[in-house]
Amino acid sequence: MARITLDSIRKRYGETMAVDGVSLTVDDGEIVGVLGPSGCGKTTTLRTVAGFETPTAGTVAFDGREVTNVPPEDRNVGLVFQEYALFDNMTVRENVAFGLKMRGIEKTARDERADELLDLLDIGAMADRDPTTLSGGQQQRVGLARALAIEPNVLLLDEPMTGLDAKLKARLREEVGELLSDLDVTGLYVTHDQEEAMLMCDRIAVMKGGRIEQVGTPREIYESPATEFVSEFVALDAPDLPFVRW
C-alpha cells in the first residue's frame, strides 16, 4: 500500500472543467471517501488516480513518486466497480488470479492466493463457478478479491454498493469495512451516498462542481460543515449510525 498524493489536478473536456484544482492526500492505510452528487468530478478524480485520464494540469504521486504519465497497467491499482465487470469467460478463481497471471506468477501459487482471498471473503466455495451464476453481492466480493489479489498501491472503489439491495448493502458495508481496515488497505471510495461514506471511510472529501468543498473526518464533516452545500449534502435522516468512525 502507498500514500497517494493528488496535487492541483485539473481536467478539462472541451469547454467544461470536470475537475478544477483538486488536491488530496490519502495516507497509507487510510480510506478516503469522495462524496458528491453526480457530475461533481468524483469519478474523473478516481480515473485520474487509476491512470485512465491524464490530467490537463497537476500531478499524481504514489509514495512521493510521480505517476502522472504512467499507463494504468503499470500503476498497480485495484479497481472495484458498481457493475462488477467480472470476466465471464473465466471461472471465479481465474478472475481473482488474473492480475497475478499478468505478473507472471505461476499457476499453483496464484490459485493458492486466489483461494485464500475467496475464503477471506467467504465465497471460497464458489471458486470453480462461472461468475454469471453468482448473486450480486457474491459478484461484488469476487470483484473485490480480484482487485485485492495484486496487493495494489491503492484500492479504488467506484460506487461499489450502489446496485445492491439495502439489507445486503448494510451487511457488506460492515464486513467490507472491517476487512479493508484489517488488511490496512489504502483506498479511495467514490460514492454519492453520505451514509455509506460515513460508515466506510476514515476521512471524507465532499466535492461539488469539480472542486473539493471540505475534507475531514466523518465527525468534522457532520458536526462542522464548512459550507452550506456540505451541511445540506451530509444531513442524515437518521443519524444513529453505530459503525461511524467518530
Partner: protein
C-alpha cells in the same frame, strides 16, 4: 375471469399458431428431403421410392467417371470400379464463404468494438458505412466489376465481395453484444490488473463477446454461401460457387435431383453451423 379465459383459449391459440407457422416453414424442407429419395416427382407428391440415384449423382458417386466429369466433379479416389468424387463446388464454396467470414472477423470485430466503445468524430459515419453494404448483391457486383476489373472472376474477388456484402451482419451482431456488457469497465479492470491493451482485447474483450461473434460468423457464412446475385455477376469460369451450382441443377435437372442438391446444401449449412459453434466455444474457452 380473464385468467380463466387466458387459460382456456390463450395458450391453445398461441400453441396452434406456433405449430402452424413452424409446419408451414418445415414442410417444404421435409418434402424436398423426402423427394430427394424419390425416382419421380411430377405431381404434388414425389413417388417411386426409395432410390439413392439422385444423391449418388449429386455427391458424385456415379459409376462412370464420364458422368461425374459432366457434372463438374473432380475424382479424388478410385476403388474397385467405383470412383469417389467430391463435388469441387462443395469444398470451393465452403472455402469461399469461410474466407469471407474470416475477413469479416478481422475487420468487423474491431469496427464493432470501436463504435460500441468510443465516441469519436465520424463515429456515425463509420457506423453507417459498415452497415451500407446491405445493398443488394447485384448492385455491389456491378460496381465491383467496374472498380476492380482485375478481381472479376477470381476466387479472391468472390471472397472480398462476400465479406463486404455480409460485413453488416457481423458488425451488428458483435456490436449489440459489446453494447450489452460493461465494455469500458471490463477493459479498465483488465488494464488495472496489469494487462496491456492488446492482451486485454484478445483475452478479455473478444472472449466476452463470444456468443455475438459466433452468431455473426454463422449468419455471415450461411448468407455468403447462398449469395446468388453477386456470384452470378462476378463469377466467370472454373469451379462454380454453390449458389450457381444449385441454380444450374434446379434449372437443368429433374426435380428429384434438384431436391437432392438442395437437401445437400441444407445438410452442409447445418454441418457448418454446428462446426462454427463448436470451434467457437472451444476456441474461446480459456479454462484449464
Amino acid at each position: 375471469m380473464s385468467a380463466t379465459l387466458s387459460r382456456q383459449f390463450g395458450r391453445p391459440v398461441v400453441t396452434m399458431t406456433l405449430f402452424l407457422v413452424v409446419s408451414f416453414l418445415i414442410v417444404p424442407v421435409l418434402l424436398t428431403f423426402v423427394g430427394s429419395f424419390a425416382g419421380e416427382w411430377s405431381g404434388v407428391l414425389p413417388s417411386d421410392f426409395v432410390t439413392l440415384r439422385n444423391w449418388r449423382e449429386v455427391l458424385g458417386l456415379t459409376e462412370t467417371v464420364g458422368s461425374q466429369r459432366s457434372m463438374g466433379w473432380d475424382s479424388i479416389l478410385s476403388l474397385g470400379g467405383y470412383t469417389l468424387a467430391v463435388p469441387s463446388e462443395l469444398i470451393f464454396s465452403v472455402g469461399l464463404a469461410l474466407g469471407g467470414v474470416l475477413i469479416n472477423l478481422l475487420v468487423g470485430v474491431p469496427i464493432a468494438y470501436a463504435v460500441a466503445r468510443y465516441n469519436f468524430r465520424g463515429k456515425e459515419w463509420v457506423n453507417a458505412i459498415s452497415v451500407l453494404p446491405l445493398v443488394p448483391g447485384v448492385i455491389l457486383g456491378v460496381a465491383f466489376l467496374r472498380a476492380y476489373p482485375t478481381l472479376s472472376g477470381t476466387s479472391f474477388g468472390l471472397i472480398v465481395g462476400y465479406s463486404l456484402l455480409k460485413a453488416p451482419f457481423m458488425v451488428m451482431a458483435v456490436r449489440s453484444e459489446f453494447e450489452s456488457m460493461p465494455l469500458q469497465r471490463l477493459e479498465e479492470s483488465a488494464r488495472s490488473l496489469g494487462a496491456s491493451w492488446p492482451r486485454t482485447f484478445l483475452t478479455v474483450i473478444v472472449p466476452n463477446a463470444k456468443s455475438g461473434i459466433i452468431s455473426g460468423a454463422i449468419i455471415c457464412w450461411t448468407l455468403a454461401a447462398a449469395e446468388f446475385n453477386f456470384s452470378y455477376i462476378v463469377w466467370a469460369k472454373g469451379t462454380q460457387p454453390l449458389a450457381l451450382f444449385l441454380q444450374r441443377h434446379i434449372s437443368n435437372s429433374s426435380f428429384t435431383k434438384a431436391a437432392a442438391a438442395v437437401s445437400m446444401f441444407f445438410c452442409i449449412i447445418v454441418a457448418i453451423t454446428v462446426l462454427l459453434q463448436q470451434v467457437g466455444s472451444r476456441g474461446f474457452d480459456t479454462r484449464g
